[in-house]
């Protein structure tokens, strides 16, 4: 079956590993991912003031394109994209003023016919018809973890992995939470379904430093260190993320972390889709493991170490 998929800008440039592994994994689950024609960057940050309505135009334009192509669901993997798309969609549904103004901005936009590539400018108002789902949500509710368990061809043999939710996946709780907001388990359930042992640790929802990585690198280093340390202390052999920025802060920053905190000895950072893809039998070469700063390839071995599921 076909499913609309919004990769977002980072996945096309710097973090292709997330994009490739997502596609490969979903193909094994009989889902063909389709990108909406002419999608653009979502803006990365949902505008938090009532007056920055123009920031909603980009995500809404993409969602409208999904609707024009007959899609009623769009999935994303990047937490930032997910947050912006879902919140913008909700704003259009709930706030008549935003609905009116964003649709007014976009009315004269250019529409591209997917078949003929013909361009038109006649648009019906977008009313929030498309449902925005995170891939984890889609795997849980639509595919179903039992089905994933059936399709698995490789066994992680209970590799202890920490699930990292970060900031945007479930917050703000009022709008975003698709799981128990203060004690979530959707990510852990996913890890268990693919044969890993989910590690419970208290920092799974703490911030990694986010965009302060650029303006205040030391603060981001410390924030990422705290998360990694907590995961490691609780026995994790790897940490999984959904977001390219979390990945950057935790993976690319590990040299800096090791330099600043001598007790820290490193922890591989994985995308959840890499784990899924490998478990479903995707070739290791297709997981984009070359993008990792902290070597992670050893975790994907046909005969994983001595870890045995208890």
């Amino acid at each position: 079956m076909k499913l609309h998929y919004y990769p977002g800008c980072t996945l096309k440039q710097k973090t292709t590993a997330l994009d490739i592994s997502t596609r490969e994994a979903m193909r094994r689950l009989d889902v063909e991912l389709v990108e909406p024609e002419g999608w653009t960057c979502c803006g990365a940050e949902y505008p938090l003031t009532e007056e920055k309505i123009v920031g909603l135009a980009a995500p809404i334009r993409t969602l409208r394109q999904v609707r024009e192509e007959g899609g009623d669901v769009v999935v994303t993997t990047c937490s930032f994209c997910y947050s912006v798309l879902k919140r913008a969609n909700k704003a259009i549904q709930d706030d008549p003023l935003k609905h009116k103004r964003v649709n007014a901005y976009l009315r004269d936009d250019i529409q591209i016919d997917p078949l003929t590539k013909e361009r038109t400018t006649d648009f019906a108002d977008y009313n929030g018809e498309v449902k925005v789902l995170h891939l984890l949500e889609y795997l849980r509710d639509t595919v179903g973890y039992p089905k994933i368990r059936e399709r698995i061809t490789r066994d992680f043999r209970g590799l202890p992995v920490a699930a990292y939710y970060g900031c945007r996946l479930l917050r703000p709780q009022k709008e975003m939470a698709f799981d128990e907001p203060d004690s979530p388990h959707v990510f852990e359930d996913f890890l268990e379904a693919v044969g890993c042992a989910a590690v419970d640790y208290p920092f799974k929802q703490e911030c990694c430093g986010s965009y302060l990585s650029v303006s205040l690198p030391d603060a981001a280093t410390e924030a990422s260190y705290r998360v990694l340390r907590s995961a490691k202390m609780n026995g994790a052999k790897a940490i999984t993320v959904t977001c390219p920025l979390c990945f950057y802060n935790m993976d690319h920053r590990q040299e800096a972390i090791k330099a600043a905190y001598l007790d820290f000895s490193g922890l591989p950072v994985l995308f959840f889709t890499q784990i899924l893809a490998w478990a479903l039998g995707v070739d290791k070469e297709l997981l984009g493991l070359g993008e990792h700063t902290v070597p992670a390839a050893a975790l994907f071995s046909e005969r994983p170490s001595t870890e045995v599921r208890s």
């Binding site: 128990e180 907001p181 203060d182 004690s183 419970d200 208290p202 920092f203």
Partner: protein, 660 residues
């Protein structure tokens, strides 16, 4: 629809009195205009306005005018009828006018207080008053129906509030039936260690009361019983009470305890909040009343000698009977005191504090058990996970309270004080331990409360940090607490051995089913609603029901006891009356119009209406009729008409309100 208009025969002389209520009404509603406009309205003989109608001069004016102008109906346009209807009815009675000729037009709560536009509010007031004139023109003189009172009371709940209420009512000289769902009376108070602000031992002060209640000649104690249903009305309730099988004959059990020794089933002990274990056959605590073992069928291997039967075998007294069945007890009472208590909000609701995950994060009641000499640790402060003496304890206040967003918006009132007590007790028992309290505000408004709190701070060196905790998690065998001190503006982190969460007080588990059976009103949090928040704090809106203790809202022990005594006094008031008055605004049947179709019989929830087979018409038991009017609305012929709210009166009111 076509009921005869008895009042039509002779035009009434109606007086209108418009109240300013100081400026409460007159600042928004032009009261003079209202009185002026209504002067010429059909039926109105006299119309005036006055600054306070409810004042003595105001009432005297009404009395004098009724006499002078020979009024046979009056309208008082003032506040809600729930406040002063009785006042003005009494004034009318003094003037020789039937109290049912009084109409209250509510132009304060439902007009001047909710509107700002003077012109519109005045117009609305005029419409409201006119409708009452239209109704008053057709009001009849009515006499109250008199009913006998059953002078026995039912008290539901055997905690301190129920015990106090039962004792006081019994001491007034009336019989009391005290129903408790648990195997023993004592409630939550028996689980507490010491009580603030005096630090006297909770068990030591409660057990004498328990014994006294159990020995009182006028109190019938029904433990392990639950109220099944209540019917009837104030003064004349019929109650069905379900006796749960205890499987132990309490008159035979001599507390030898042999059964407990042989029982193979181990169950978390409710009395110790699950911090220790009991057997399936058990006595809740040593001072339990009645003093008998109880067999918990849910955890027993099967009440079957073939499967186990060990306890039965060792019982010399032959007190154990596996074939005991549920039975129903029926009682007649005149008043019901509801003292069903409270529960603590579940720690599961606050995932960020880890109460469900970490054994050493406990709630206030669990910590009471840890402090208590009769508790699982014999009164030594030891933490549940490994039995070590904690060297630092963090106390977090307002856990689930004062949170409008996800939890309870109200203040649970007692947590500030019991937290101070907890911290103080801990410092007494572990002198080298550190006690840290995170608070938002310390509310110590009771007698000697602030002194107690200051004692914790000054003498026991409890560190109070003003700020709420964001997160608690475990690292090694320490609990890391992330808080803030808003006074210095510093984010703080504490490594604690144990954390005590002052969880919000919420309605008792499962109490809503009982309250539904009683048909008594609650607030949105499930606490019992009082008849008036200031002036009738211990009565329910539903006549004959009285409230005591935390079932009504968070309270400390002295307040609970005071409220229980007040409720008992109110029951005494009721029982001191020779007879009760039943409202005469019931729905009788006009024999000439009734076809005997019986539709109204199916409508009546009180079985007040029956068909007279000989005459083929419906007859009404006016004592049973509560006057809801459902039958009147359903009657196809108009034979059922509610007294002083007939269909014609409603139509006239609608016309007066809407026509002009």
């Amino acid at each position: 629809m076509t009921a005869p208009l008895s009042a039509k025969n002779k035009e009434k002389r109606i007086g209108l009195f418009v109240c300013h209520c100081g400026v409460n009404i007159s600042s928004v509603v032009d009261v003079e205009k209202v009185a002026q406009v209504l002067k010429d309205y059909p039926g109105v003989t006299f119309s005036t306005d006055y600054v306070y109608m409810c004042s003595d001069p105001g009432q005297q004016m009404i009395i004098d005018t009724i006499k002078e102008k020979h009024l046979d109906g009056i309208i008082v346009a003032a506040c809600s009828p729930t406040l002063h209807e009785k006042t003005f009815q009494e004034a009318a009675r003094l003037a020789g006018l039937n109290p049912y000729q009084i109409e209250i037009a509510n132009i304060r709560e439902q007009d001047s207080w909710v509107h700002t536009d003077k012109e519109k509010a005045t117009k609305k007031a005029i419409k409201i008053v006119k409708s009452h004139v239209a109704k008053a023109r057709q009001n009849e003189n009515l006499d109250p129906i008199k009913v006998d009172v059953t002078r026995r009371a039912l008290v539901i709940g055997g905690g301190v509030s129920g015990l106090q209420a039962a004792m006081d009512i019994a001491d007034h000289g009336y019989e009391v039936i005290l129903v408790e769902k648990n195997p023993s009376i004592g409630g939550k108070m028996i689980q507490l260690s010491e009580t603030f602000p005096t630090l006297d031992c909770s068990q030591c002060i409660l057990t004498p009361k328990m014994v006294e209640v159990s020995r009182h000649p006028r109190i019938k104690l029904l433990t392990y019983h639950e109220v099944e249903s209540v019917s009837g009305f104030v003064g004349n309730f019929k109650v069905r009470i379900r006796k749960k099988p205890r499987y132990v004959d309490e008159t035979l059990c001599n507390l030898c305890g042999e059964c407990e020794k042989v029982c193979p089933q181990i169950v978390p002990d409710e009395f110790n909040q699950g911090l220790s274990f009991r057997k399936a056959i058990y006595m809740p605590f040593p001072q339990a009343i009645p003093g008998t073992f109880t067999l918990d069928a849910e955890h027993c291997l099967g009440l079957n000698p073939v499967r186990c039967g060990k306890c039965k075998d060792v019982c010399d007294k032959k007190a154990i009977d596996y074939d005991m069945k549920e039975t129903i007890v029926e009682e007649e009472v005149g008043a019901i005191v509801v003292a069903t208590g409270f529960d603590l909000y579940t720690m599961q609701a606050l995932g960020e504090y880890g109460g469900e995950k970490y054994l050493d994060v406990v709630n206030g009641l669990e910590f009471e058990r840890i402090l208590s000499a009769s508790g699982p640790t014999g009164g030594e402060v030891r933490r549940p996970s490994d039995g070590k003496v904690p060297k630092s304890i963090v106390f977090v206040q307002c856990c689930g309270s004062r949170d409008t967003e996800k939890h309870m918006p109200y203040c649970s009132k007692i947590c500030c004080m019991y937290t101070a007590k907890h911290a103080m007790m801990y410092r007494h028992k572990v002198p080298d331990g550190q006690a840290i309290v995170f608070y938002i505000d310390v509310r110590a408004g009771g007698k000697s409360f602030d002194e107690f709190y200051m004692r914790a701070v000054e003498e026991d060196k409890v560190l109070y940090i003003r700020g709420k905790v964001s997160k608690i998690f475990k690292e090694g065998d320490k609990l890391i607490v992330w808080g803030v001190d808003t006074l210095t503006g510093k984010k703080v982190e504490v490594e604690a051995d144990m954390v005590v969460l002052a969880m919000a007080m919420v309605k008792a588990d499962g109490v809503q089913d009982l309250l539904k059976k009683l048909k008594i009103a609650t607030d949105i949090h499930g606490f019992l609603a009082e008849a008036h928040p200031k002036l009738r704090p211990v009565e329910s809106l539903n006549a004959g029901f009285y409230l005591a203790g935390c079932a009504h809202g968070p309270k400390d022990i002295p307040e609970t006891v005071a409220q229980a005594s007040a409720a008992a006094a109110k029951v005494g008031d009721l029982f001191a009356q020779k007879e009760l008055i039943h409202e005469p605004t019931v729905v009788p049947v006009n024999d000439e119009l009734c076809s005997g179709c019986g539709i109204c019989i199916t409508m009546c929830p009180y079985s007040a209406r029956t068909l007279d087979p000989e005459r083929g018409v419906v007859v009404v038991n006016e004592i049973l009729c509560e006057g809801c009017g459902a039958c009147a609305a359903a009657c196809p012929s108009g034979a059922a008409q509610q007294r002083n709210q007939t269909d014609n009166q409603i139509f006239s009111m609608l016309r007066a309100m809407l026509r002009e």
